[in-house]
Symmetry: C2
Subunit: 434 residues, 2 copies
Amino acid sequence: MRAIDIIRKKRDGEELSADELTFFCRGTAEQAIPDYQITAFLMAAYLRGMTDAETAALTIAMAGSGEQIDLSSIEGVKVDKHSTGGVGDTTTLVLAPLAAACGARVAKMSGRGLGHTGGTLDKLESIPGLSTRLSRDQFLAQVSRIGVAVISQTPTLVPADSRFYALRDVTATVDSIPLISSSVMSKKIAAGAQAIVLDVKTGRGAFMKTLEDSRRLAKSMVDIGRRLGRSVSAVITDMETPLGAFIGNALEVQEAIEILSGKHVGTPLWEVSLVLCGHLLALGNLAKTPAEGRVKAEAVLRSGAALEKLAEMIEAQGGDPRVAHDPGLLPQAGDRIEMRAPREGWCSGVDALDIGRAAMLLGAGRTKKEDVIDPAVGVVLAARAGQLLREGDLLATLHVNDRTSLGEARRFVERAFQWSDEPTGARPLVREVV
Amino acid sequence: MRAIDIIRKKRDGEELSADELTFFCRGTAEQAIPDYQITAFLMAAYLRGMTDAETAALTIAMAGSGEQIDLSSIEGVKVDKHSTGGVGDTTTLVLAPLAAACGARVAKMSGRGLGHTGGTLDKLESIPGLSTRLSRDQFLAQVSRIGVAVISQTPTLVPADSRFYALRDVTATVDSIPLISSSVMSKKIAAGAQAIVLDVKTGRGAFMKTLEDSRRLAKSMVDIGRRLGRSVSAVITDMETPLGAFIGNALEVQEAIEILSGKHVGTPLWEVSLVLCGHLLALGNLAKTPAEGRVKAEAVLRSGAALEKLAEMIEAQGGDPRVAHDPGLLPQAGDRIEMRAPREGWCSGVDALDIGRAAMLLGAGRTKKEDVIDPAVGVVLAARAGQLLREGDLLATLHVNDRTSLGEARRFVERAFQWSDEPTGARPLVREVV
């Protein structure tokens, strides 16, 4: 078999066999295939598309290109969750301890992507002492013992995907449904969980801007998972406005802790976390239906058991568990700058992308892998879409250390707030379930 | 401007501007753009195609990526010729001295490609002492003095094309009309001639197998040349059977010398050489029409002036000019192995591809750049399509040094000859003029 023949076949729109995709992924992982052949293949796959069978075979091939985690030593239902990412998306920090407190076994590995704020790993690492670099054995032992661990993906997991991903980023081949869904699902498959809930974001602050694209991506990922014998559901949720009110790394940990402490009831982050947990419990046969799972999850949250589970997880990973009861122990920014309403009126929207850019400018995110994140900085929103505000009401507080780009960050926050002279309805939060 | 944005635009089927293509070609020539971005671009261009305006702009951009030869110091009409390549295609060795003897100024640079036999450079270099590595000044001086020079393309000519070409070869992006035509024409434009005749081969032994594809390629190249203010015609000629009867490097030089000496009148190579020369003379205003040009060319050939011109060129480039009158001075193979007709019947065809493969197996061609060519070896065909043969008649003579692959080479030659019990008409040689 030769790489060039596989490229030619995809170029001509023919369906590749599982053997061919396995050959290509293994050659990619083992550096036997050079970058320039990989990118020609990726562009051909981008433009020609891939069938559902090809996408599933590519997923298996990528998952098989490296280590695959065997969770069979852990008793109980092993669950996992993936979000396509958005602004103020702190659901993992709420959902992981909550699902564990509900009886599921949450064995979650995260990558360290680029974005307006850091990823889940960066958020967790803002907790003093906490490490996300556990060995495989430590990881399995922790999930067996306390039911939950969130660690950084090992470099031996899906090496083909790592190489594909880096090359897609520089060759305009990122936004391809089969390439995205096989990339996401290969990591989930290699990580070993049986039940997987997918949170597919839709809207301006999301990777997929339209409901139609979000639906296609959700369907593709669910199809792959089911073909590979996993229990998978996808929930399409709104990302026009930031999901949480706290955007930043330590700030998002704080919001998660507050939700697990019983605050912010009814807010979008609270709501989405419970919906996703309901689905996870249903997928894992810990509830009959997603609705029943949600009721169970809400009761567990109210009991305080999920907050205790978070404290256990923090302690197990070397962090200071007192943080769970006193978020003031998290890194704090030097300055807090309040931004107030310039006029009276109804807030008709808060643009997720603009708020994300503001957080990025304050130092909360990365544009390049090498960028250093400031865990303390970010934006806390005080006003929400649908509220009537008076001139001078608090809109947002910027948590600032480095003032270099402060002016620009302020302008983005100002621009993010949309105004109306009449009340406007809030957008539905959960758009569809696939 | 960024390479990724240009890739994205081509990916989405948008038309690239001349500025964008210039940026991309300059970045390619200067190594500022990495291989993996170039191949993503090439695959996008392959699958999305390019408009005529884009193809012309790409040609200018590639020609402008390196040195451009200024032929203005040479008096007279500067002409050039390109063939898309085939088996036994010795036209340059006939045409270059012939056109020069007719009064044109032939300033020809050749590349050193891969193929069943070597390229024009390899053929010329089989002449003892002859060099194709002239400096630019030597090249211009020789064309001014004797009217003809055929040298190797300098590495500073169209560096963007050189890099594109090497990458296309390994990423299944070779057979794209806009990429082929811009590659060919960029070299012709950079080499500076005003009048250019293109010999586009069609058939099994050619790169373009169908008349339709050959016509598209011819039209695209002629369109580019005319957009860039050059006088260009394309002649589409048959390549089902080898053009010349001699297939090999020194062997093809021998056939060219014999034609220039007045032999092989009416054979396909003789015919195509005269047709192409007629077009060149018409394009260069040295004849009113291609037909008048052809008549003039034939008269000059008969006069012996073209053979003398070849001898002058050989001598000017350091070779032994006695070769022009005594081809026996060319390298000779150690063995000559005759192959004879296994049956009586009409020869209905001689497959160009099979004969090419046989020559390659005997050592006449290259599969990799590093391969060393044996100038002496090859195949001389004694029988032609349309002839009635008796059992035992001579079909071909193999000129052999290394017998390693002799058996396989013999089988290819046997297979090449097609038989019929009834007379079959010969295919037309010149299919179309564009």
